[in-house]
């Protein structure tokens, strides 16, 4: 029973940690818009944390730049298990318009495993909430598999 309570709580209380891997700030603003009164992601239990140690879902924005690559990998490694990695926007999956730039070493899936991708440039807040809800379900599955 105790295991079941923990599993259900996992899906209901996903805390976010946001990493900017060289993003243009468009997706970052949309992510913050999700937490504002109009969309209010807190009603689903989402909370933005300041420390990767408290996080369950890591949200990465931006095409991974040469400067940020090592920091992204190290920060994601500091998140306690079970964790879910979500890419926000097109940049982390395909580098988008920054592809081919000398300073871009993405996409992100060269370095870490990605669980959920939210497409768009930048994605709508509704799409972000949808993707985050999916990530919460993945989090529960990961806990169950453990």
């Amino acid at each position: 029973m105790f295991k079941k309570i923990i599993e259900n709580s996992m899906a209901k209380s996903p805390w976010l940690f946001h990493i900017n891997a060289g993003s243009c700030n468009g997706c970052d603003i949309e992510l913050v818009a999700v937490l504002t009164p109009k969309y209010d992601a807190e009603r689903l239990g989402f909370k933005l944390t300041g420390s990767p140690r408290h996080a369950d879902i890591v949200v990465v924005t931006g095409p991974v730049t040469a400067q940020s690559k090592e920091r992204v990998i190290r920060t994601i490694a500091q998140v306690p298990d079970p964790k879910v990695i979500v890419t926000l926007g097109s940049c982390p999956r395909s580098c988008n318009v920054f592809k081919g730039s000398y300073s871009v070493v993405g996409p992100l899936d060269n370095y870490v495993d990605i669980d959920v991708s939210i497409a768009g440039c930048a994605p709508k807040p509704e799409a972000i909430i949808d993707g985050l809800a999916l990530a919460a379900a993945v989090l529960k599955e990961k806990r169950r598999a453990k």
Partner: protein, 322 residues
């Protein structure tokens, strides 16, 4: 006092079920949920369900616990549990609706000492984690403790002087409750009104709620001392925070609204718990929704001038016996 098996069992029941660990956890988490919901409604949001802090607690229990490489492991792991235990002990001493588990054995001075231990446990845990954010948070928490301790002591002095009249000062919580049952609640004594307001301002600083949460400022220093905690120890810290809400509001109810006596103990307890909820909404949710975080020196200045001043006015009024 003779010690037989029944007494031991009774004390175990007090410590573990009511008003100890189980009850204070459940009610504290519920208070934390009400706080978050009310703040959300005041900001025109739907807000998380009332059960949200409970979900957070169980989720954190299921997470991995990471101990940083340069942390002092024993202190780092023990600190949250020390804080939790001292809060549970505190819940046994504070009368809830006239019901006090360990009545007659301790007074306000013990409550004052026990109240510092949870804050100190956060400081010890934070400084043991070896994180620079935690270092900043620890120094800020220390300032916050110094800020609220003076007005808290002044409030307690004013209350005990009002209760004891011309005789010797009585610091007994039981004495304060009995006095209020005979003479009406102290909140309706106009001399103690400033002290009650001061106490309402001390509660959010003690609990670490907006606008006095300088030590755990999430947006600037990533929850300060808690930055390196994860998994079960973090869950225990969150639980301690919730129990602290219950303990501090119950202390307010005991000091200023202890005069409610319907003749039935369970009804008294229910009314006391309702008072706890209302006090939480007034002094935590309302302040949280309408204010932004103060700077460290502003918190210190505010508590040592305005809040201490209010408590001092009450103390003087009571002392000269108007």
């Amino acid at each position: 006092m003779s010690i037989d098996i029944n007494t031991i069992l009774m004390y175990l029941l007090y410590a573990l079920v009511f008003p100890g660990l189980l009850f204070s956890s459940v009610f504290g988490l519920w208070l934390a949920g009400v706080d978050r919901k009310v703040v959300a409604r005041m900001q025109k949001r739907i807000g998380p369900p009332i059960m949200q802090p409970t979900y957070d607690f169980f989720k954190l229990l299921g997470k991995e616990t990471i101990i940083p490489a340069n942390a002092a492991t024993t202190t780092f792991m023990l600190a949250p549990y020390v804080g939790l235990v001292s809060l549970v002990v505190l819940a046994l001493f504070i009368p809830v609706g006239g019901f006090q588990a360990f009545g007659g054995m301790a007074d306000i001075v013990v409550v004052l000492y026990l109240l510092t231990i949870p804050s100190l446990s956060i400081i010890f845990g934070g400084s043991a984690s070896g994180n620079p954010f935690a270092g900043v948070g620890v120094s800020r928490s220390m300032v916050a403790i110094m800020a609220y301790e003076l007005p808290l002591i002044l409030v307690l002095l004013a209350v005990s002087k009002a209760v004891s009249g011309n005789g010797m000062l009585t610091f007994s919580l039981e004495g304060i409750t009995t006095y209020q049952k005979l003479n009406g609640s102290l909140l309706f004594d106009w001399r103690l009104l400033p002290a009650a307001v001061a106490m309402l301002l001390v509660i959010p600083c003690e609990v670490g709620s907006h606008p006095f949460d300088v030590g755990e400022a999430e947006t600037e220093i990533c929850e300060g001392p808690l930055v390196e905690y994860s998994g079960a120890p973090l869950a225990v810290f969150k639980l301690s925070h919730a129990i602290k809400m219950f303990v501090m509001t119950a202390l307010f109810a005991a000091l200023f609204l202890g005069g409610i006596a319907t003749g039935m103990l369970w009804l008294d307890i229910v009314i006391a718990l309702l008072i706890c909820t209302v006090v939480t909404i007034i002094c935590m949710s309302f302040l949280h929704a309408i204010t932004a975080r103060l700077k460290v020196e502003q918190v210190f200045k505010f508590f040592w001038t305005v809040v201490s001043g209010l408590a001092l006015v009450s103390l003087i009024l009571v002392w000269i016996g108007i």
